[in-house]
Amino acid sequence: MALVNINQLKVRQGAFELSIPELRIEAGQILGVMGKSGAGKTTFLHALMGFLPILSGEIEVKGQSVGNLSTEKRGIALMFQKPWLFEHQTVIENVGFGLAIQGISKEARLTQARDWLKKMQIADLEDRKAWEVSGGQAQRVALARAMAVGFPLLLLDEPFSAVEAPLRKDLRKLVRDLIQESQKAAIVVSHDWRDLEELAAHILVLDRGEIIANETPQNLKTHPDLQIRSICES
């Protein structure tokens, strides 16, 4: 059974309507989402997170229907283009934020957070204040924070667009390895074809609230529809 199942999802935001008939994401897999501005990418993420109410349909994560749950109970971690670290906290406190919310003891929390910092290769930053780290480091802290909470699904909204090219490549590899290793699922929204080509098993192409393609990156590159190819190439 797939880790994430979406069936007949409909979301309305003003005059705009998003429709996702069917979507499955397996454990360890990353789904990419592309589309021009106004295609419905953000609406899709916001509906998954519960920031927007769904009109109809079903969202299942790990066999549990989450469509009617409040955001904090959905078990979906979120990461944005900007890391949005909690600036009053240290790096390790940021990583352990979700664990603290779950009521995990301080010692266990610190141990787990340290493990994640090691995986992100930023173990030496643990005592630094959030605002004392560089942009690339902050993005790693944000990723560690989203992974450490242990939720089955991770949503990444343009996660690398604020990071410089060399760091970007490292981060892509890190995300891919971590998702595979932890057997979680992830949805990555990006404008950058290289991000999705390297990360995603499948890429969903949205246009005016509809899915116009759901293919592997290789298939999309050679897709017969010029419009779809142009979206990927842009």
Binding site: M49, T71, E72, L78, W84, F97, G98, V149
Partner: protein, 507 residues
Amino acid sequence: MNWILTLPILVFMVSFFVLPIGNLFFLTSSGVAENIFQDPYFNHVLRFTYLQAAYSAFLSVGFGFVAAFLIKEWRILGGNLLWRLGLLFSSLPSIVVALGLLGSWGPSIGFGWTGILIGHLFLNFGIPMRLIGVALQDRNRTPELLANSLGMNKRRVFFEITLPQLKSSLMASWILSFLYSSTSLFIVMFLGGGPRFTTLEVLLYEAVKLNLNTPKAIQIASLQALIGGLLFLCYYRMQKRRVQEGQQPRVNLFLSEKRWVRVSVSLVFWVITISMLGIPLIFILKDAAWDWSSNFTSSLLQATVSSLKIGFCVVVLGNCILYPFLHYIYREKGNLLRSGSVWLVILPQFFSGAVVAFALSVFYPSLRGNDEWGILGVVLTQTLFAVPLMYFALNEGFERMAQERFWIAQSLGANRWQRFFHVELPSMRRPLLLSMLIGFGFSLGEVVSLLLFAPAHLQTLSLTLFQAMSRYRFQEAHAATGVLLVMIIVLFLIMGSVEEKDGSGQY
């Protein structure tokens, strides 16, 4: 049910501001008030009040404009210091400024017009300087550069393109300076020098405190309140326009290329600033040190403790009513209520302290001079005036708080309360501290509410200062001023360091 969070401030404002002020208008229209418009002396005072306020406002805006221009465009030496000092001057209690000007210039200041204008300039120039400075900084410079490249000379660029962009900030700052000058009490009382130079505020004080003529006081207070309300409406319109002004490139067309010109202008400006504004400040501290006597120590210590206690109550009450309201409009209702609700919070600033305190004492007579309730009257009046000031600090904190950080916390499983305690409150620590310091600073120097409500046994620093000045006990006045000034400067320095440390928003 979250709208309950707006109740504390609504109840507070309605009970202690809207109803008492409304009651004044009701009493005036129902014939309780004395018809004073037939009194020629009153008409003279009325004319003088607004004439001196208009001149004071022109002077403050003129000086503030030059200062803002030199700081933001010419980047004169010590410009940043002057930018900060403007705020310090504006936050000094007017009674301290009156004493400082008397101490430094003595009778040569010239009582009457000169004293009043210099006093108001001292107190008010910081407001136009900062308002115009921000507008200068944020204006759209592209049309200026385009016009200059097409052959328009700098003088024409300034008058035809730059100045129109500053119009709303110039008008807004004139309105504020006019308002503060028309409602200032102690500058006129101590530097006016007689009945020819009396204003409505002094007349109101005399009617309430000395002549005990309540019908006359009601008439004066209603008139003051009406004009305050009208000025508020004008200011609100100006502010709305100012926010829409653009911002763009950073090329400076008006900066003089000759270094000697910049240095000379800086020096001239600093000489004027130091002699007009700096010397009085130094004299206050000098007199305080020289006139200090051990006789004052215990009474001033007691007055300081009372001031601190009242300030603490004002800050706690202010935050208790203001914070839930701002939390509601920013965190629960998004932008929906923001623009419309600001007026409610900042409205009291447009009414004079004497008018509000008097209105409160008429509506709640048991607050006045009562040993048990008098302190409550003081705290309520001071809170009404501290809240608009505290609002700006808290509002800025809420403005800076990114919604995304709350979404992240929510996605990590944090519920409403956890988001409040783990995300919102820690981010609001500095704005909260800043708002407390501002409220505290205001409370320290406030006198009017104490004159109306304070029980006989209560002595605060500002009240001690007023009583000493009224009885010509200048040694004691200098000592009280010294303590008051040192406390305000310390608060100001802490505020500066709190603002400087605030480097949030990076990630």
